[in-house]
Structure formats: C-alpha cells, structure tokens
C-alpha cells in the first residue's frame, strides 16, 4: 500500500515538474519529495527485511495495461532487498539534487524525468509478470536515455545517447526473447507460471544466454559495456550516480531473478561462463579506468569493474548450486548481494563527489584539478572514504564483500570438473589484479584531484559546496564505514533474502559475532570490529608514546623536493604520468598504447611535445570491426601459402596443441 502510493507519487511529481517547469522552486521541491519518497521506500524494504522476510509474499493484481493482460505485482524477499538497496542511494542522489539539480545545464529537462526514472526502476523490482517487467525496464531505459540527452547541445552527449539507445533496444529485445521462451507455447507471462515451466536443455540454455545478454548489456558486462562509459558521465552528476549506482543494480536484479528464481536448473557450465565473463569485465573495466583522464568516465569504467566482481560471485553461486553445494552457493550469492549494496553506496558517493567538484570548479578533467582537499574538506574526506572503500581496504565495506567472494572462490576447486579447477585460479588471479588495480586507480583519482598543488585557476579558487550536498556525501560515507565495521549486521540481513532462494540454512559462522567466517570458523575469519578496536588501541599507544619520548616541534617550510625548489605546478606528476608504468606494461598490450616524444633540438624554439595514443580494443575490434574482420579473413586465407619457416613451425605447433586439447576434452 505504502509502496503503491509512493510509486504513484513519483509519477505525480513528474507531471507536477512539467507543469511548473519555469519556476525556480520546482527543482528543490521535486528533489526533496523524491528524497522523502525514496526514504519511505527504502525504510519499507528495510522493515520487511528486519521482520525476517516474507512467508507469503504479498501479491497484487491491478487491472492496468492491455485489457486482457492484468498487471501482477509481488514483493518477495529478493525485491525487498533490492527495494532497500536501490532506494537508499537514490534518496542520497535526490538529496544532492536539492542543491545541485537547479544548476545543471538544461535543468528544466532533467527535473521532471528524475522521478519518472525512479518510478521505472522501482516498477522493475515489483513486477511479477514479464509484461510489467519489460514495460518498466523499457521505461527505465528511455527515461535515463532522455536524461543522458538533456544537454542536447553537447555533441558528445548526443553520440552517447545514440549508442545508449541502440544498446538499450538490443538489451530489451534479448530480455523479451528470453521471457518469450520462458512463457512457452501457452503464453503464460506471469512469473509464477514461469517458475514451474519445464524447458528443454536447449531452450533453457538459450534463456540464460539471452538473459545474460539483456541484463548484462544494461549492467555493463564486457563486451557489451561500450555505451556505459559514454552515457553515465554525460548525464548530470546526480543522475550519473543513479545510473551507475542504481540502474546497474536493477540489471543485476533482473539477472538474479531469472537465474535463481525463475530457473533453478542452470548448469555449471553457465556458471563457469558467467564467472569468466565477470573476471574479464572486472580486469578490463579497471584497466580502462586506470587510463582515463576524465573523472566521471573513470568512475563509469570502475562501475564496469564492480559489475564484473558481482558477476564472478553470481557465476560461482550458479556453479555451486548445480553441483549440489547449496551452502557454498548461498555464500557466493550473499557475497554478490553484499557487493551490490556496497557498490551502490560508494559509487553514488563518488559520483556525487564528482558533482561537487564540478559545482566548485566546473572541471572534470583530472589534469585541471589538484589541491582540492584544503579547499573542500568535507567533499575531500568523503571522497577519500569512497575511494578507500572501492579499493577494498579494511575496515570499510568494499573489503568485506570482496573477502567473501575470495573465500567462496577458494572453495570452488571442490567442484570436480577440470574446467572449474583450472578456471577458478585464473579467475582468482584476475579478481586479485582487479582489486589491486582499483587501488592504484583510486590513489590516482584522489591524489590528482584532491592532493598536490592546484593545476588550474578554477581549482585554485574552488570553495566547499552547500551543506545539503555535503550531507548527501557524508551519509553514504558513514554507511560505508558501518557496513564495513559491523558486517554481521549486513550478512544476517541478506541471509533472509538468500535462504529462500538457495533453499538452505546459512552456516551460523557467517552470521556469528564478532568473527565472520565463510563456512566454518576454521576456514579463516575476519572481524572488522576487533580490528578497529585494536587499531584504536595501538593508535592511542603510539600517540602517547610519541608525546612522551619525542619532541612535538613542527615547522612549516616550502616543499624540499630533493633541493629542486621551483614553483612550476606542471612539474607535478599528472594523471597520465602516474599511470605510465602500468600503461607501459598493460596498456601497450591491451590498448596498443604508443608514446611519442617530439624533442626540438637545442636552439629550436618549438615546444617539446609528448603524444600518447591509445585504441579501445573492444570498440575498434568488435563494434567497428565486424566488416573489417570479414575482409581480413579473406585476405588471411590467401596468404597461408606464403609463410616463413618459423611461421610454418608455429602452425604445426599450434595444430599439435589443439589436437592435444581435443584429446584432453574427449577424455573427460
């Protein structure tokens, strides 16, 4: 009831905003009302979760839509969880919007669409039939597309809008086909009927593949991610926060709904595939992020990485379930959901931070910023918390979910299949690389933006943003800390969601206090609370000891810099120079990065130039290159007749290896 009226209020707000479009106050009013509604919705979700989930999920049938198709709504524990996970960051984005929404370019085009976007996302969660689900999904796509296009004078935004529209249509089409298959000949479009439907192995596999394409393209799974880093940054920052922090989670919700609720017989092969795709997404996403020069694009690529990490956990959960390891499957699913809520929090926080920086300086380019920590202390501190959380540093929340995912990965070789046994260590390495790169990426982001000396006059004259915006960033920062320090609070909450889905009782070690353990206490344990207490104890001892034994004299002085005292701001490390070592090692392989230095001879007055060129392998290779590939194949086949000795040797060697591989597969 509450939820229904809240959803209605979103629509009403949208129309209200259109009606009073010209007024000043409408922006603050709309965003304020949105924030209140989101808080209500999130609170409702939280209340249902605390009350221990639902024995019988309340379902409503409304006579809306096409006359002979009634709209089914239902609120089960999974929707409840996502209701909370989605509306809490949405509330923060709305809160931020109260001060921010009036000042974005073309604010009149943004404000009315914002509540409608929220309405659509909530609609997806509540849907209990394919019809409502797809309509809400498409509504979500279109409203966010319009938000991306709001700054229509910007050519980049227009390009982003085009790519986004194509990908969104593609994704919805895939989901439509998936639901069509699920509904079968009878056309049973309700989720209840789909749960009991029996599909053949081919149809079942096709459903999973289509769901992965549809939801994966919305979530930003590589190689379907191409639209995401274009579209997310193009929207105003609080909308970017919604798209990155919230909409990708709705896509994950769609995937979980299909993989774990509607289908319960997905094979381990699909789990393996999802896991590998997740690993690929995570590593590529963070590699892209590492070399970005635009703060918001960097954050968008980091979303791709985190979606990859969630996919790894989901794939593991599928594989475990197919092998009958229900408890391990539940742990992996719990880890995935934990990361969902974590990422929605810190990504919202970071995007709002980028909005604050944009407000204060008008810049998103890393190399035009610098030294903001002294000028914007609250934004800086909260951004630091977000950066540390996304880099999976204890005692913050990002570490807990990644720890749980690592723990379930470490149990995965118990699945007796050689693809899993050899695949899992590689996925583990990929995830560890992604985590380590994320740390580097956010040291770079925070260090270049907030530390050092200001690199432009805009950065030098920045001032702290209004209080409402500060509050919208401070709340998720505190939440990140709480979810990290009291992980048991979160795991026992998520357990109420996971247990009905996995049909298993989670081990008490996972919910125990104060040690968090994946399966049993001897497997390894983690207690952020104890760590933090010991940390505080050690810190106090250190400070007291230093006071007792050392001198406290402090003298400010110009930076020493090995004796090179100069005042050239550009002599600092820039964003590009920071990532140079990793660019040389990985960029040259993945992005074909090429550096060229044009150094004039002495006496020449020309400035020295440094040029850096990188290509996007997936954009150039997959999207633009399909035609090229066809042509190239024709050429290649022709060239086979004119090879060198070493190449022929190589061919023979490859043939040998491939034959051995075939033997290996056949033997299994």
């Amino acid at each position: 009831m509450i939820i229904g009226s809240a959803l209605g209020a979103f629509v009403a707000l949208g129309f209200l905003a259109i009606l009073f479009n010209g007024r000043h106050w409408i922006h603050s009013l709309t965003y304020g009302a949105c924030a209140a509604l989101c808080v209500i919705l999130a609170g409702d979700g939280l209340w249902h979760m605390v009350m221990g989930g639902h024995e019988a999920a309340p379902a409503i049938v409304l006579p809306i839509g096409i006359p002979w198709l009634k709209a089914h709504f239902r609120l089960d524990s999974l929707s409840t969880f996502f209701l909370m996970a989605i509306n809490s960051p949405a509330a923060l984005a709305s809160l931020f919007g109260i001060a921010y929404g009036g000042h974005v370019p073309e604010a009149r085009r943004v404000t009315p669409l914002f509540p409608l976007f929220l309405f659509a996302m909530n609609g997806v969660l509540l849907a209990d039939d394919a019809f409502v689900f797809l309509v809400s999904w498409e509504f979500m796509s279109l409203s966010s597309w319009l938000l991306v296009l709001s700054d229509h004078t910007n050519a980049e935004a227009r390009r982003a809008g085009l790519v986004y529209l194509v990908m969104a249509v593609f994704g919805t089409f895939c989901l439509l086909a998936a639901f069509g298959l699920l509904a079968g000949h009878a056309g049973a479009y309700g989720f209840a009927a789909m749960r009991t439907a029996h599909l053949g192995p081919w149809a079942g596999g096709l459903v999973v593949a289509l769901a992965l394409l549809g939801a994966g393209s919305k979530a930003g799974m590589v190689p379907l991610h191409a639209w995401l880093p274009l579209a997310h940054p193009a929207a105003p920052s609080h909308v970017s926060a919604l798209m990155s922090g919230v909409m990708t989670k709705v896509a994950i919700y769609g995937l979980i709904r299909i993989l774990f609720d509607l289908r319960s017989d997905v094979g381990w092969g699909w789990g393996f595939f999802i896991m590998v795709m997740g690993a690929l997404t995570a590593v590529l996403g963070v590699l892209y992020a590492l070399f970005q020069r635009d703060l918001k694009t960097l954050l968008a690529y980091s979303t791709v990485e985190n979606v990859g990490i969630i996919l790894i956990a989901l794939g593991l959960a599928v594989a475990f379930r197919d092998h009958g390891a229900a408890t391990l499957s539940a742990v992996a699913l719990l880890a995935a959901l934990y990361h969902v809520i974590n990422h929605s929090l810190f990504k919202t926080l970071l995007f709002l931070g980028s909005g604050a920086i944009l407000t204060a300086t008008g810049e998103r380019r890393l190399d035009r910023l610098g030294g903001l920590l002294n000028r914007m202390p609250v934004t800086g501190l909260t951004f630091l918390v977000g950066a540390a959380a996304i880099s999976a540093l204890p005692p913050l929340n990002g570490f807990v979910s990644e720890w749980l995912i690592f723990q379930s990965l470490f149990h995965a070789p118990t699945i007796p299949h050689w693809a899993m046994r050899f695949g899992v260590p590689v996925v583990g390495v990929a995830m560890a690389l992604a985590a380590a790169f994320a740390g580097t990426c956010f040291v770079r982001a925070f260090g270049i933006v907030f530390l050092g000396r200001p690199r432009s006059p805009e950065a030098r004259h920045a001032a702290e943003v209004p209080f409402v915006m500060q509050a919208a960033m401070a709340i998720p920062a505190v939440a990140c800390l709480c979810l990290g320090v009291f992980p048991v609070m979160a795991t026992s909450g998520i357990a109420t969601v996971v247990e009905p889905l996995a049909k298993v009782q989670l081990p008490t070690a996972l919910l125990g206090w104060p040690w968090l353990s994946p399966i049993s206490p001897t497997d390894g344990s983690y207690s952020a609370t104890m760590l933090l207490l010991t940390f505080i104890g050690l810190m106090l001892t250190t400070v007291i000891a230093l006071r007792l034994f050392g001198t406290r004299r402090v003298r400010p002085a110009p930076a020493w810099d090995c004796g090179h005292q100069e005042d050239i701001v550009n002599a600092q490390y820039s964003a590009d120079s920071f990532s140079q070592p990793l660019r040389r090692v990985f960029g040259s392989v993945v992005f074909n990065a090429q550096e060229r230095v044009d150094m004039p001879t002495p006496g020449d007055l020309r400035p020295a130039r440094f040029e850096l060129r990188m290509t996007d392998p997936i954009w150039d290779g997959l999207y633009m290159g399909i035609l090229r590939v066809v042509n190239a194949i024709a050429d290649r086949v022709n060239r086979l007749q004119f090879l060198t000795v070493r190449r022929y040797l190589f061919l023979m060697f490859t043939t040998l290896v491939v034959l051995l591989l075939i033997v290996a597969i056949r033997q299994q």
């Binding site: 204890p394 570490f399 740390g439 040291v443 390894g524 983690y526 250190t542 004299r553 020493w560 990793l582």
Partner: protein, 315 residues
C-alpha cells in the same frame, strides 16, 4: 586471559625487535662488503634521533600528510599483531586471515602513496606511481599464494595453516615449494629490497619507496621508517609461520613450549635476516620496467603452484 597477555607481549616483541632485524641485515651487508658496519642497535639510535628532531612540513601539504605516518605505522603494527610468531594462542589472531592481512598492508600502502602525491612534487609522484605499479602486480601474487595454501590446508587463517603443516599432512609438496619461492620473491619486492628497490639509496632515478617519503622528517619519518622495519620482519614471520612453523607454541603448550617457540622464532628470523643480507650483496638492482617481468613471473609461478596441487592429488 592468557591469550590476551600473550598477544600483548607479542605486539611489543614484534614492534620492539623490528629495528634489530634491519640492523642485522645492514651489519651482514657491511661485513660482506668489507666494512666494519654499525652495531645492530644502530636503527634504534636512528629512530630515537629522528624522534627528537623538529618535524618540517611542506606548506602545500594537507592534513592527510600529517596523519599518514600514524596510519601507516599502526596498520603495519596491527598486521604484526595479528600474524602469529612464537605462539598461535593469541587473542587477536582470528581477527584477520591472510587476505585481511594483505589488505591491511595495502591500506598502509594506499596512504603512503597518497602522502607521496600530497605535497605536489615530482619525486613524490614518481615514488607513488612506481609503488602502486609494483603493488598492482605483487598483491595478486600474494593472494594466489594464499589461494594455493588454502587449497592445501582448507583454511586461510595463518594459525590453522601452521597447525596443518605441523600435523605432517603435507610432505615436500612441489606446490608448497613454488609457493614459498613466490612468497620470497614478493616479500623482496614489497619491502623494497634489492633487486627491486634500494632501501639505502637517495639516487633520484632508482628509488621507489624513498621517493614517496622524501618530504617527511622528524617523528613522521621515524614512524614511517619503523613501519618499514616492522614490515620486513612481518614478512619474515609470515614465511616462518606458513612454511617453517616448527617449534611454534600452540594453545596447549605450557611455559616451556612458549620459551622454545620464542627461541625458534628468533633463530628463524635471525637466519633469514642474514640470508637477506647475503642475497642483497650478491645481486644487482634491476631496471624499473624489468620489475614487471619479475613480478609477473612470480604471479605465474603462484598460479603454477595452485595447478600442481591437482596433479599431486593433495586436493
């Protein structure tokens, strides 16, 4: 209660003995290079002297620059508190497994790198950039080592791995040998020892860690130096706990067992310090971009260690 007491003694030992380890390494190197070398107590005197020096802070520095030394020191000391050395019967040991331990060290590194960028000098940025570059490849290596150990021992808790090794279920496993090799390689990189980085140099082009802390002085520098010393000793303790836990006291050991454990730990760490000194003397520093090959090789070896477990049917 015993566990709490043993844990507190352990923390004092770990923090208190760390400069000695560095002293032993330096003395060994000096002797091998034909110098007399300073006493093993010299690092204590250095730290004491730094504590009494005035702290100079760059004008462009923020509050992050001031708190980083404390954060780094406490993070590393916390990691040292958790890692069992002479006994596994410590209150804090279950608070973090090996993954969390690596993450604690990563936290320390995160803030050191940020402090390197804070003042806005070229050298600080250079150090931060290279440190994160090295860590980006070293950290996955350690995690993969943990992966293979956890496959073998079915746990990621250091105390339980030590107990597993002591129980004799594991022989001279190829995987364990590989894992040990990788851990040593990475420990060298993480501690900024030759051939990755030279802890004794202030030659601009070759330094990594020293470049980050170039702007620090006085008690801040003392804290950072001490953190580095604890980290070196911590890695030695990790190696001795996971691969050579013999002699370590357990929950059921009495006072005799504790003394034996302490003696065994001191002997192991001492031997490793001397070995490190000998190794550092006999090898030349490598180019920065060669480090990627070195650490990438370590990472792949760690992967091999995991894969070999399947052959030997240990899993």
């Amino acid at each position: 209660m015993t566990a709490l007491l043993l844990g507190i003694i352990h923390t004092w030992l770990v923090v208190g003995l760390a400069p000695m380890v560095t002293g032993i390494v330096r003395l060994t190197k000096a002797r091998l290079q034909g110098r007399r070398g300073a006493s093993v107590l010299q690092p204590y005197r250095d730290l004491w002297r730094l504590l009494h020096k005035e702290t100079v802070i760059a004008e462009s520095a923020t509050w992050l620059f001031r708190i980083t030394p404390y954060l780094v020191f406490v993070c590393v000391a916390l990691a040292g508190t958790i890692m069992p050395t002479y006994t596994t019967n410590m209150l804090m040991t279950p608070a973090a497994d090996l993954i969390a331990l690596v993450a604690l060290l990563a936290t320390a590194r995160f803030f050191t790198a940020l402090a390197g960028l804070d003042v806005g000098t070229a050298f600080g940025g250079l150090g931060a950039s290279r440190e994160m570059f090295i860590a980006s490849i070293a950290e996955p290596g350690i995690l993969t080592v943990i992966f293979s150990l956890s496959l073998l021992a079915h746990t990621t808790a250091p105390a339980n791995i030590a107990a597993f090794v002591l129980s004799g279920h594991v022989g001279l496993e190829v995987s364990a040998g590989l894992a040990l090799g990788v851990l040593v390689m990475i420990a060298i990189a993480e501690n900024g020892r030759i051939p990755i980085d030279n802890p004794a140099t202030h030659l601009e082009l070759t330094m990594v860690h020293e470049a980050m802390v170039l702007e620090y002085s006085g008690r801040h520098l003392a804290l950072l130096e001490a953190a580095g010393m604890i980290r070196l000793q911590l890695f030695m303790s990790i190696i001795s706990c996971l691969f050579f836990p013999w002699g370590m006291a357990t929950v059921s050991s009495g006072a005799g067992g504790l003394v034996l454990g302490l003696a065994a730990w001191l002997a192991k760490v001492g031997a490793m310090s001397v070995a490190l000194g000998v190794f550092e003397t006999s090898i030349a520093k490598m180019r920065v971009f060669r480090v990627a090959d070195y650490l990438g090789g370590a990472l792949l070896l760690a992967l091999l260690a995991t894969i070999f477990l399947y052959v030997s049917e240990a899993v």
